[in-house]
């Protein structure tokens, strides 16, 4: 599967990942070569094969619906880029 630089720009937008404009060409090439590598999977007949989600075929363990996390907001916010009054700050979203 060969992608175009436009495809890569679209993927980068979906992934919220800025790519330097002088890297778009090389990124397009390397991502295309990886997709080329994985494209051979399409040739494999997997009719009647069930998808493997957990290598030991174990299903997700459930637990009682109880509060198990301690409140460590202050600890966590010590390493945040920008906080105010216990809130994480980001650029204004709603005008």
């Amino acid at each position: 599967m060969a992608l175009t630089p436009d495809d890569v720009a679209k993927l980068a937008e979906l992934a919220r990942l800025s790519i330097d404009s002088n890297h778009v060409e090389s990124t397009t090439q390397s991502v295309s070569s990886i997709l080329h590598l994985v494209d051979q999977l399409k040739q494999v007949d997997t009719k009647d094969v069930s998808a493997l989600a957990h290598p030991l075929d174990i299903t997700q363990r459930l637990r009682a619906d109880e509060v198990s996390e301690l409140n460590q907001r202050d600890e966590f916010q010590k390493i945040a880029p920008e906080v105010e009054n216990g809130l994480y700050l980001v650029p204004r979203v709603v005008e």
Partner: protein, 487 residues
């Protein structure tokens, strides 16, 4: 002192030959003197190390102690360590001081280890050469122009250079075994779910598994006993007793059936590597093992399958790094979109970006069935190949890596060529099987490793076999001349 194995250190500490503080101090000095040539550490935690060594010495003088009391080790910088930077080899987390300890870090601390610091790694564990680290490449102690392998290259290089007797590591597609092979040390990836992933920064959650790197199988057994076990904080961790691996190392292996996949022993392997693995297999035959050809018909699809599953899971896992709560944030974001996209664009390196983009592609609307679901189905076929093979044999052997350590820069220009490095190691991750790499020779003075893959939860048999091999050979005792020489 630096040439001691963990087993020897434990014996010496018990006899009072030296204290934990003494060996800790001596290794810290050694790291400061030699590591500038290797770059195997990202962070040295000298004060913490000396404090825990003193605590270990105190504990030893009075009553009950943990199984690894006072033993110096290092943690791969993928494990969260409270109060200590946990970078995962990325600019994204260069400023991240973890507010908590990973489960593995806690359990090892409980066993009494003394952590000297955090080892270098490929960024977010994505790489096979340690060249993708934000902190610069790690050099192979056997030849500092060559790579140590990856992603646990710092842990493998530090153990090979005798900077630490053992280190923790993680393996998503070969990141313990391939660097162990390239650095001439012993490394084990346990069964998926054997060791908790809590606090281990996630790359591909259905493949990631933590394990030990050390000089010998015996030391790996001691380390694994301390790190394995159930943890309710990891929903995929298995609730199953941890055997005392170190107690079964001396079991007789006569009658053990070792499978040789015909797909791997077909003349394609670099012939020198093949020859050394053959010699190792002969040694095992002399110890009583039987060699049997097995068929893994779908194993050749392992690399493409992995490069759908791993990027898909990585693109999901790494979406948490958004510049809002922790990690890198770009300067003066214009709006929220810009904050996300520029923080991530600046924080991640090229290989991580490539994998996020591939993952985003294979998971996008309309492609999910063709890529991710198809890969998960092929994963089932690969796993079933192993199930059938394990009807006939007890272990499967192969080379660990394609060849010996390659030169820095040799493969970094072509990601797909780099991905071939994990040809022999990826299948065990896809099938969730335990696997290990054991040094089995030198080629032009560079180490070669042999891989064992076992049935689920049969780490004990693998370690037993590897120990029996190491009792009959001395490859694991060799060290790079520049970093201590033999002995």
């Amino acid at each position: 002192m630096f040439n001691k194995s963990i087993r020897e250190i434990l014996d010496d500490l018990a006899k009072g030959e030296y204290s934990s503080r003494e060996i800790t101090k001596s290794l810290l000095e050694r790291i400061k003197a030699l590591d500038p040539d290797l770059n195997s550490f990202i962070t040295l935690t000298e004060e913490n190390a000396l404090a825990s060594a003193e605590a270990a010495d105190k504990a030893r003088s009075g009553g009950e102690i943990g199984s690894l009391c006072g033993v110096p080790i290092a943690h791969k910088d993928i494990f969260c360590t409270q109060g200590v930077r946990t970078s995962c080899g990325s600019k994204m987390l260069d400023n991240f001081i973890s507010p908590y300890d990973a489960h593995l870090v806690q359990s090892m601390a409980k066993a009494g280890v003394v952590s000297l610091g955090k080892t270098n790694m490929d960024e977010f564990a994505m790489g096979s050469s340690n060249e993708t680290s934000f902190y610069g490449p790690v050099k192979n102690p056997w030849d500092t122009e060559r790579v140590p392998g990856g992603s646990s290259g710092g842990s493998a290089a530090a153990v090979a250079a005798r900077l630490v007797p053992g280190a923790t590591a993680t393996d998503t597609g070969g990141s313990i075994r391939q660097p162990a092979s390239l650095c001439g040390v012993t490394g084990l990836k346990p069964t998926y779910g054997r060791v908790s992933r809590y606090g281990m920064i996630a790359f591909a959650s259905s493949l990631d598994q933590a394990g030990p790197i050390a000089r010998t199988a015996e030391d790996c057994a001691l380390l694994l006993e301390a790190m394995a076990g159930f943890d309710s904080n990891d929903s995929t961790c298995i609730d199953r007793d941890v055997p005392q691996y170190s107690a079964s190392l001396d079991n007789d292996i006569s009658g053990l059936r070792i499978g040789l996949p015909k797909q791997y022993f077909n003349g394609d392997t670099n012939s020198e590597v093949g020859k050394l693995v053959d010699q190792a297999l002969t040694a095992l035959e002399q110890a009583g093992a039987k060699l049997i050809e097995v068929d893994l018909p779908h194993v050749e699809l392992a690399i493409p399958t992995y490069y759908v599953v791993a990027p898909a899971e990585c693109s999901t896992n790494l979406s948490r790094f958004d510049g809002v709560r922790y990690g890198h944030r770009c300067e003066n974001p214009a709006d929220l979109e810009d904050l996300y996209s520029r923080s991530r664009g600046e924080g991640f390196g090229d290989e991580v970006k490539r994998r996020i983009l591939v993952g985003t592609y294979v998971l996008s609307a309309g492609f999910y069935d063709a890529y991710y679901r198809q890969a998960q189905k092929i994963r089932r076929l690969i796993q079933q190949d192993f199930v059938s093979a394990f009807d006939q044999v007890d272990l499967i052997a192969s080379p660990s890596a394609l060849s010996t350590a390659f030169k820095m820069g040799e493969k970094s220009g072509d990601p797909v060529e780099m991905y071939q490095e994990d040809l022999y190691t990826i299948p065990a991750n896809l099938a969730g099987l335990p696997a290990m790499s054991v040094p089995c020779g030198l080629m032009n003075n560079l180490p070669v490793g042999m891989q064992f893959v076992g049935r689920h939860f049969e780490e004990g048999l693998m370690l037993n076999t590897a120990h029996q091999y190491q009792k009959r050979t001395n490859w694991h005792e060799l060290s790079p001349e520049k970093f201590g020489g033999q002995g």
